[in-house]
């Protein structure tokens, strides 16, 4: 009945002392049932970010991590400013961002500004590549980013951290994790975190190579509250609250021309599971305030989303063959209420429903098959029926070597955003949902060289054609249309090596991605100039390299990210030059009784590389950060070993 995923967490390459503040240590069996969609994504590539890496980025936004560990390309407007993702050569609204399974892309914009998502907001990060719309619903066209809250272990763990950075920027975080077994029947645990970041961006220079660094100021604040109640009689209740506030002021010193973008989100969720039945209810409010010059009376946009979901798991075992089938059937109903200054009506409401059946069939010991079906229903129109099929086949499996072949063929869709449907004049209530077919095939290899060393390789090729791609068409005064058809094709290679020998640990991660993402359809006389051309701001080549060396509690890490030139016009007549950025981190942890202090120094952009953002403004050069995290832990965390 239980599916157990062995999370090869930090333990493999971090000493226990260093990770004493972490939750996932060693090979820990995670009981996956009810909440987690990954198990029905067989055939797709899923990348888990280990908690040591999450800790290294704890004072940063998620985009910093993703750009160093994944081939996701970011379209950045400047430090602390709008930062949207292109996942496998798709657009900013083609990546589903799920918080505990709930899509938190802005309903009005259909995308996430990754500069407003700090890592402190969640405990576990996975990246799922390729279309998984049949499992997670709308927006999962290029991939999904899965943010999860994890139940802390028993005891009390309190930490306070501060990071001081160049340019008069600083971050402060306070966090408490607690777990208690009330009696034999109930276990209670929770996390409370608060964070406050002030990025003044007081650059000591106003220009780099004659390109201006645009002044900006970002104040980021948030509160996270997770509560878990787990019962021995197979019941779980969890409550999650994540409040965020991100206040960006562009050119703050220019009182007439400054620009305010205040992005707030109140995210709340309640989940209950009893045996095979899970229900979830969530309310999310997204607020965007925008003002220019006089900031006292901004344009105000509020969207409420109430989402209810129920799902039930079934399982059949076929004892003679050892095979089994798991099925998850469920439904989701979401109600939207939008009060946005630019809309035709003062209040827009919309209902969306989803029905899904997800299947995981362990056909043989070496063969796993997933088949998923989803039908979404939306006020006024229906997105296409969304099936998918995926399979994983173990080609070799020996103690020191394994090779797995996986493949997936799936349909994807993106429901139109509220702006696309309801924006005054420019929106189009009849706009069609985008739809695509994603095909991919991949190999996963694991090679255990000896007791202390292993080497893994993942190679994936994909082909994703998206039709009815919407476009705010500048040649029609920016009216939105289902205009384009895009074919995104590519190859992704990821390699990792680990060596843990006595007190020494070391590791290397390398990733390379080739992505050709081109417009296929002509729609006016001059579109022949853009047919077959690479989409804007999607690099054809990208690579990253991360390496660390650790002795006892002291670790140094190097990070390199390279991207090739990015075209900035659809006809590829203009481009931004490619660049490489390298960072260096050094950290050590000092333990004393139940307390520990972790000190980390970081140099970003060591080579002082010059590069431009999409506004054609310079990005900052070399910068420094120093952080200290003071922790108290009431008891050593419980370790779970696989049975």
């Amino acid at each position: 009945m239980f599916v157990i995923i062995f999370c090869a967490g930090t333990g493999l390459f971090l000493s226990c002392n260093v990770c004493a503040q972490q939750d996932t240590i060693r090979l820990e069996p995670v009981i996956v049932r009810g909440f987690v969609p990954e198990k029905f994504m067989s055939g797709l590539k899923i990348q888990q970010i280990d908690s040591a890496t999450l800790t290294q980025f704890q004072f940063q936004n998620i985009s910093s991590l993703l750009s160093l560990y994944t081939p996701i390309a970011f379209k950045n407007y400047g430090p602390g400013q709008l930062n949207t993702a292109s996942f496998r050569g798709t657009s900013a609204s083609h990546a589903a961002v799920l918080w505990n399974g709930l899509n938190i892309n802005s309903p009005s914009l259909g995308q996430t500004d990754f500069s407003t998502i700090p890592l402190i907001g969640f405990d576990k990060l996975s990246i799922q590549y390729g279309s998984a719309a049949s499992v997670v619903g709308t927006d999962a066209v290029g991939g999904s980013i899965l943010l999860e809250s994890m139940s802390p272990s028993e005891g009390l763990n309190v930490s306070i951290g501060r990071q001081q950075e160049s340019f008069n920027n600083h971050q402060t975080q306070v966090s408490a994790r607690y777990g208690i077994s009330r009696n034999d029947n109930w276990k209670f645990s929770g996390k409370t975190s608060a964070y406050d970041g002030r990025m003044k961006n007081h650059f000591p220079y106003s220009e780099r190579r004659n390109y201006t660094l645009l002044g900006s100021e970002t104040l980021q604040r948030g509160l996270v509250q997770d509560l878990f109640f787990e019962s021995k009689n197979d019941q779980e209740i969890s409550a999650h609250i994540w409040l965020t506030r991100n206040k960006l002021i562009l050119t703050p010193n220019d009182l007439a021309g400054r620009e305010l973008t205040l992005t707030e989100a109140y995210r709340t969720m309640l989940r209950y599971r009893i045996k095979d039945l899970t229900v979830r209810t969530a309310w999310v409010r997204d607020i965007i305030d925008f003002a220019k010059g006089d900031l006292t009376n901004p344009d105000h946009a509020v969207t409420d989303k109430v989402s209810n979901r129920v799902e039930k798991d079934f399982q059949w075992n076929f004892s003679q063959s050892g095979s089994n089938v798991q099925i998850k059937a469920g439904a989701e109903w979401t109600h939207y209420r939008a009060q946005i200054a630019g809309y035709e009506k003062a209040l827009i409401t919309e209902n969306r429903g989803d029905f899904f059946i997800l299947t995981r069939w362990q056909a043989k010991a070496h063969l796993l098959i997933s088949a998923n079906l989803r039908q979404a229903l939306i006020t006024g129109f229906n997105p296409p029926f969304t099936p998918s099929i995926g399979a994983e086949y173990q080609l070799f499996q020996k103690t020191d070597y394994s090779l797995k072949l996986r493949g997936s063929y799936s349909r994807s869709y993106r429901a139109p955003t509220l702006n696309e449907r309801y924006w005054n004049e420019l929106g189009n209530p009849d706009i069609r949902p985008e739809t695509g077919w994603n095909k991919e095939i991949g190999l996963e290899q694991h090679y255990q060289l000896n007791a202390s060393q292993f080497f893994t390789t993942s190679l994936t090729a994909y082909h994703n054609r998206i039709k009815d791609w919407t476009y705010w068409n500048p040649s029609k005064s920016y009216h939105v249309e289902n205009l384009q058809q895009v074919l995104a094709r590519g190859v992704e290679l990821q390699m990792a090596w680990r060596n843990d020998f006595r007190l020494w640990k070391s590791g290397l991660n390398f990733g390379y991605a080739l992505n050709k993402s081109v417009q296929e359809k002509a729609y006016d006389a001059y579109s022949s100039d853009i047919i077959g051309k690479q989409l804007v701001f999607v690099p054809i080549h990208s690579a990253n390299l991360n390496a660390f060396l650790q002795y006892k509690n002291t670790r140094i890490t190097g990070q390199v990210q390279s991207i090739s030139k990015r075209f900035s016009t659809f006809d590829n007549s203009q481009f931004l030059n490619g660049y490489s950025l390298a960072n260096l981190l050094a950290e050590t942890t000092i333990n004393w009784h139940k307390t520990s202090i972790r000190i980390r120094g970081q140099v970003n952009n060591i080579a002082n590389t010059f590069y431009l953002n999409v506004r054609n403004n310079a990005m900052p050069g070399r910068s420094y950060a120093l952080s200290m995290v003071l922790s108290y832990r009431s008891q050593a965390s419980k370790r779970f070993l696989p049975k």
């Binding site: 562009l250 620009e259 068409n473 500048p474 001059y526």
Partner: protein
């Protein structure tokens, strides 16, 4: 043989003389001594405006000459370009506050010679040069709440590269026409103003505010010294001395259309313009028409060119019509050349969102 040698040395001598004469001649040098400069506005949020360049003989253009020469981009939308002697001025409008500027270049080499930024120049729109050392630039000012109350015309001393005066003009000052000691300043159609401002360029004071019944766009001064202006769906012939409207020519009667991009022919006897409208699908449609300064009515039934453009200019040297096409703000546009009768010459790829041409 000797004869030949003498002849040869004579020829060498003569060419040397000619060459040295050439040397002492102060003829301008540079890659851009004569030709056509294309103003490309770029995509506002990308700050990727450029000036393209082509010679009158070529049918290909250099997309961004400033970047090519100076190894750095203009870093904003290009709103205008003008030159006098070897001094060139480029109006740059950046999407962020505080980064608008006038970039000074050598008009023949396009090497940068400095700039004037904010707060002197904010949201620059159009430029004219007057004499060898003066330029006027219409600016909207900060205009952060789009009420068009902060506009002005900046007076620039080209020798010191400084704004010497700001002449306040509300309602979004736009088109500028200089003639005979007077600068005529119009406003944008959506700025709420209905007057033409006349500035005395020797005192840089407002001489007169001519109130009309629509937002005014000065076009130029015709072969007879009369000022022409567009005002809504009308073309007006105005006496440049008395400011009396002498002729009012209605441009059709279809109020759903708007008239713009007025330009004079090279002989200053014909005005070309674009009459355009948006269809139900918000696609811009329209045609290019013309009228003679002596016409008693504007013929809007037979267009010169059955197309709408994002910019229109006439080369005063050759009389060819240069029309700009912007397929979208996310790809390069085209310059299309027509003869004065509307027959097509060629089409040349330029940069993003071409809006006008400057001839040298």
């Amino acid at each position: 043989m000797k004869n030949q040698l003498t002849r040869l040395s004579a020829a060498v001598f003569v060419s040397l003389v000619v060459w040295s004469c050439n040397q002492s001649d102060p003829a301008p040098k540079g890659d851009f001594v004569s030709g056509v400069f294309v103003i490309n506005e770029g995509n506002f949020s990308q700050n990727n405006g450029a000036i393209s360049y082509l010679t009158r003989e070529q049918s290909t253009a250099e997309a961004d000459i400033f970047s090519k020469v100076n190894n750095t981009a203009l870093k904003g939308g290009v709103q205008g370009y003008a030159f006098t002697g070897d001094k060139g001025l480029i109006l740059i409008d950046n999407s962020a506050a505080g980064l608008d500027k006038i970039e000074f270049v050598n008009a023949n080499t396009f090497t940068t010679e400095g700039s004037i930024g904010t707060p002197d120049i904010e949201n620059p729109r159009e430029i004219v040069t007057v004499g060898a050392n003066k330029a006027y630039v219409s600016c909207w000012g900060a205009n952060s709440n789009y009420d068009y109350k902060t506009g002005y015309v900046a007076v620039i001393d080209l020798a010191t590269r400084k704004v010497t005066k700001k002449i306040d003009i509300a309602s979004g000052p736009e088109n500028l026409v200089y003639s005979n000691g007077k600068l005529f300043v119009g406003t944008v159609s959506y700025g709420g103003g209905k007057s033409l401002t006349v500035i005395n360029t020797s005192t840089d004071e407002i001489l007169k505010t001519i109130v009309l019944d629509d937002a005014v766009t000065p076009i130029g001064v015709d072969a007879n010294g009369k000022l022409w202006a567009g005002a809504g769906l009308k073309a007006l012939k105005i006496n440049a001395d008395t400011y009396v409207t002498e002729t009012t020519l209605p441009i059709g009667s279809d109020a759903s259309k708007s008239a713009g991009n007025f330009v004079f022919s090279s002989d200053l006897k014909t005005v070309f313009f674009i009459l355009s409208y948006f269809d139900a699908n918000y696609v811009s449609h329209g045609e290019t028409y013309k009228f003679a300064i002596t016409d008693s009515q504007v013929n809007v039934s037979t267009p010169v060119i059955k197309r709408v453009f994002s910019g229109l200019s006439v080369d005063p040297q050759q009389g060819l019509i240069y029309a700009a096409v912007t397929p979208s703000y996310a790809q390069a546009g085209y310059a299309i050349r027509y003869r004065a009768d509307g027959s097509l010459v060629d089409s040349i790829k330029v940069s993003v969102a071409p809006t006008g041409f400057v001839f040298k």
